[in-house]
Structure formats: C-alpha cells, structure tokens
C-alpha cells in the first residue's frame, strides 16, 4: 500500500486498527523523499533518524493498547521559520545557516506531547519574504505540478511537500499570503487562522502584527484536525487570545444551505488571469447550487492594501531583523566557512574587521539576501525621521480603512469568497528581477492579514496547462468554523482535491 498518499485521518484509522505502523508510514514517506525530492527541493533539513525513533515509540504505545491522538504517529513537515530545539532552523537564510535553537516553538511543544513525527524543515523564501521560494539561500523550490514553475511562497516548501506526498501535513506561516498563495499554486488546502488564534512563540518574527502560523493539508478534514492541535492561548505569546477553542471537526458538515457567501466586486478586476476568473465564477455557481445565498459586497480600499502592506511589513521587519548582528547566534563575517567562494565578495584585506560596527555591517551584507536587504532598507526609510508620518502613519490609517471595509461587509455575509492569486504558478525567474511585480501577485491575500482575519485556500480548478487554481474563503475573526464548513461542503461536492501531480 502506498501509505504516503493517504491523509492523516485515513492513517489514524490504520494505526488504531493496527493495519499499519507509524514506522511503516514514516519509512514510506522518506523513501519517496529520497527518490524524488531532488526534483522539487522542498526540504532544507531532514531529521530521519529522530523521526524513525519517534515512530517506533508511538508503535510501542499502540501495541501496549495506549490511546493515541488523531495526529500521533503522523509524519508532519515544519517550515524552517519555526524554532525546533536541537534541529537547525535557518529561515532560508545564510545568516542562520548554523543556528540550532535552544527551545521549541509552542506549536512544536504541542506536537511533541502528541507524538507527532517531525520529518524535517521545509524550504522557504528568506525570512518569509517572497512569493515564489526563489529567495532561499538553499536553492529554489519547484512546483510538483510543473517543475519549471514556482511553488508559490514564502511557504513554498511546506506546500510542495504536501502536494508531492513528501509529508502528510505541514506547518507554514502567513504574513501577506505565504500559506494561501503556495497552497493555491500547489493544489493543497492552506489555512491562515485568525491573528491571535495560534501562538507565535518560537515563530521567527518577520512582521509581528501580521505573522500567523497555519496549516497545509490534503483535505479539509485534516485541516480541522491540525487546527485543533495548534490553536489556543499561550502565556508565552501575549498576542495570542484567551478564547475557547471549539472542536473544529464539528464543522465538517456537508451543508452550505443558507450560508451567505459574499462576493467583493473589487476582487474581479482587470489583470486577473481569465482561467482563474472562470474557475472562481464556476465555484460561486457551485455554492449557489449547494443552497448558499450569494451576496454582493464591497471592499473599496482593496487597491491600497499592497501599498500599505509594503510600508507596514518592512517597517516591522527592519526592527525585527536588527537582532541579526553576528554577536549572539548565527553567521558572523569572519566565519567564512559558511559562504561559498563566489559569495565572498571583495578582497580579503577589505573584509578585515576594524570595529564592532564594521562587523555588524559586513555580517549583515554577507548574511542577508537581496530581498531581505531591500525590505530592511524600505522599512528603515519609512520609519526614518521626516518620513514617519508620510509613510508609516499613513499606511496604518489605510489599514484601519481596510479593516473597516471587512467589518462592514461581514454584516451582510458569513464568508467572503475570492481568488487567492491573480494567476496560476508563474515560471521560475519570471518576476525575480522586478520586486514590485512580485509584490502585486499577493494583492488578494494581503488585505486579510492587514485585517487579522482567518482565510483558507482550497483547490477549485486547473489551468489548461494543468496548474492548480485556488479559491480563497475569508471568515470573520475567530470564525474558522464557518470557513471549514463552507470549504468542506465545496470539497465534498467537487473532485479537484483528488487529483495528484505526476513527479
């Protein structure tokens, strides 16, 4: 049996009925990774030995008749921006190429308590800055559906490994679309929970008011199961909210009767690919047939979201990334060993360290990639004396208007349905030299982060070229349940999620 193909809920049944062991499941995944991952490059670090030890431990528990949770013994991949004790955590950056965390993120602690099998750390855009996973210091990640295209980003590795059956589920992070956009482009389910729903403790900070950990799964049922495991208040993250966590599997109902589905006219604009638009319109028809009520809503400030985001996120990043100074951890310029010869620009005598500031500047220049430098400078500029009000404060005010738009729209509907990305996966290299074009590819996902809302991407079609297209379902704050119910009903009445890429 090809165990790697299955979902977590299917595998849980096999484990409980003793028809498969966690060791067999984990081995089947690693065999597939070892055979095929070189075509995709979805992992930065693999932790096979640890994983197999853990699997044996779970199997022992099961054979002793102990009760296991619904994700015990299930192999899961972790985006390399989430801290894992004793496992290297690079954030896709050279500056953390030798960094081994001394503590676990809260989500990892929860996983360890439930005996989850951690497969390894997935490839990503450096410090989660990017929409294509081309900005990784560990090589470009490729889309399993067509290896000449990008998998999306920044959680490209986490999306690609689930699509390619190199993991049963995975965790990612979403600051401006970094879960939903790669999920859409790789044809898997990707959920960004409400800001504050899942602890960010141990998630390496990019833009702290926008970052959120979320899930990649093969179907909606697994999405609910994984959200159950990671949601909840955490004293270690004071922005996580004290609010009861429902059992999300109770929302897995094949019933969209009377659900009010809002369609924002501002999301159906020129510049969206015709095939994407068609897939979304078809999906709206499907909802109609399933008894949902379609309501037109308006989000008039949508067109300003990208501009506001590219002030707010870099401003927060410029502050968060100040900690990479070559003193406490990570790469320092005189430690030349981590860089290939081609990266050691300048003559050796120019690179001699004259002072601590000189060390900071050289460490950061050599350790950060281009996109990270660009955003640090953009943020520093926007926060600098004389520009603060014109840029940063202005962007924060526009953020208020964007949030108000959603508040108003949600008075008329239960969920809002939109495209995830204006195009299917684009070619590797296509947008890398034009940062603004890259930024604009997140136009439909960014407003959700600015408003702190939960949203999911689910498969809803394919382009003529065979690339997946995703549908975004946005919910009210802390109403992941309504999103899951709507998504589940769509999934149970369509076939898109059953198609797999040929690698």
């Amino acid at each position: 049996m090809e165990l790697y193909k299955l979902t977590a809920h299917e595998l849980n049944n096999l484990l409980v009925e003793k028809k498969a062991s966690s060791f067999e499941i984990t081995t089947s995944i690693y065999e597939r990774i070892e055979k095929l991952n070189k075509k995709i490059n979805s992992y930065i670090t693999l932790t096979k030995e640890l994983a197999l030890q853990k699997a044996e431990k779970v199997d022992k528990k099961i054979s002793k008749g102990e009760k296991i949770s619904s994700i015990s013994g299930i192999p899961i991949a972790i985006k390399d921006v989430i801290s894992t004790r004793d496992i290297r955590t690079t954030c896709g950056s050279k500056i953390l190429s030798n960094y081994i965390p001394i503590y676990d993120a809260t989500v990892i602690e929860k996983f360890k308590k439930e005996d989850v099998i951690i497969l390894g750390k997935t490839n990503m855009d450096e410090f989660a800055m990017g929409s294509s996973t081309e900005n990784s210091a560990y090589g470009v990640c490729r889309n399993p559906w067509n290896t000449s295209t990008i998998p999306g980003g920044s959680s490209g590795g986490s999306a690609a490994c689930v699509a390619a059956d190199f993991a049963i589920m995975s965790l990612g992070s979403d600051t401006g679309g970094s879960i939903r956009q790669p999920a859409s482009m790789c044809g898997v389910v990707g959920l960004k929970p409400t800001y504050g729903r899942v602890s960010r403790y141990g998630l390496v900070a990019f833009a702290s008011s926008l970052d959120q950990i979320g899930t990649f799964t093969k179907d909606i049922e697994d999405c609910a199961i994984l959200l159950n495991m990671i949601a909840g208040h955490d004293p270690m993250d004071s922005t996580s909210v004290v609010k009861e966590v429902p059992n999300y599997t109770q929302y897995l109902k094949n019933d969209a009767q009377k659900v009010k589905v809002g369609i924002p006219k501002e999301y159906f604009v020129k510049g969206t690919d015709k095939e994407v638009e068609k897939a979304i319109l078809n999906s709206i028809e499907t909802f109609k047939k399933l008894g949902a009520e379609i309501v037109e809503v308006s989000l008039p400030h949508t067109e300003y979201a990208v501009a506001a985001y590219y002030i707010i996120a870099p401003a927060e990043a410029s502050s968060n990334l100040a900690r990479y100074d070559g003193v406490h951890y990570g790469f320092r310029t005189e430690n030349r060993g981590h860089l290939p010869a081609s990266q050691q620009a300048g003559k050796t005598e120019d690179r001699k360290i004259s002072s601590i500031v000189d060390m900071y500047e050289k460490t950061r220049d050599e350790g950060f990639g281009e996109e990270v430098k660009r955003r640090i400078m953009l943020g520093t500029y926007a926060l600098s004396s004389g520009y603060y009000e014109a840029y940063y404060l202005k962007a924060l005010k526009v953020r208020t208007l964007i949030k108000n738009d959603f508040d108003k729209a949600f008075k008329k509907c239960d969920v809002i349905v939109t495209p995830v990305s204006p195009t299917p996966a684009f070619k590797i290299g296509e947008k890398i030299s034009d940062p603004l074009q890259m930024y604009l590819s997140d136009i439909f996902t960014i407003p959700v982060n600015l408003a702190g809302l939960p949203a999911i991407s689910i498969p809803c079609g394919f382009s003529k070229g065979g690339l997946p297209i995703g549908l975004q379902i946005i919910g009210k704050p802390f109403d992941e349940g309504q999103i899951l119910r709507t998504a589940y009903t769509f999934e149970q009445n369509t076939e898109y999620h059953n198609k797999k890429p040929k690698i």
């Binding site: 001394i102 504050g196 922005t239 501009a307 003193v327 951890y329 640090i376 400078m377 500029y381 600098s384």
Partner: protein, 97 residues
C-alpha cells in the same frame, strides 16, 4: 520622473540599517526602491484625515504576567550558538576605535 530616493539616500539608509552595500548594489537598490515608493504614493489618494491608525487588530491591552521568578535558559545554552565566546561571555571586536 524625479527620483523619490537618491543614491545618497540609499547609502544613508543602508548605514542606518547596518548594511555595508557593495558598489554594484547601490544603483540597483536605488532603482528598485524608487519603483516601489512610486507605487506606494498611491496611498496619498486616500483621505485619512479623520482616521485613527491601526497598529494591531486584536483588542488586547497590557498583558502582564505575575512578577515571580521562573526558570530561564542556562548560560551554557545561551552561548551555544555564539560565533565567538570566552569565559561565559559573548566576544566581539573592539567597540572603541
């Protein structure tokens, strides 16, 4: 089109950001940052004269923990990843030139 940000500005911002840019990086970043800032000018179309800023979306205020001692990381753990260390301290290049 007049540049919003000059090469000199980029050098200054790089200095504030503690980044020693290579010669070839400066014109490229100047061009790219200008393109991005040109786009961001769009925000000026929006009337925000009566709008309050939103710093974060969750209605939380002053989250505090009890003032009690708890275990934190050991010195050994904290120094584990240090690029340079000596006798239980982080070691850095000269601070006073």
């Amino acid at each position: 089109m007049k540049n919003i940000i000059s090469k000199k500005d980029v050098e200054y911002v790089a200095k504030l950001s503690r980044l020693k840019l290579r010669e070839d990086e400066i014109p490229k970043f100047t061009h790219q940052l200008n393109t991005i800032l040109e786009y961001i000018k769009k925000l000026n179309e929006v009337d925000t004269s009566k709008t309050e800023p939103t710093l974060q979306v969750v209605p939380l205020v002053n989250v505090r923990r009890k003032d009690v001692q708890v275990l934190s990381s050991t010195v050994e753990d904290v120094l584990k990843n240090a690029p340079d260390k000596e006798r239980g301290y982080f070691k850095v290049p000269p601070i006073i030139e």
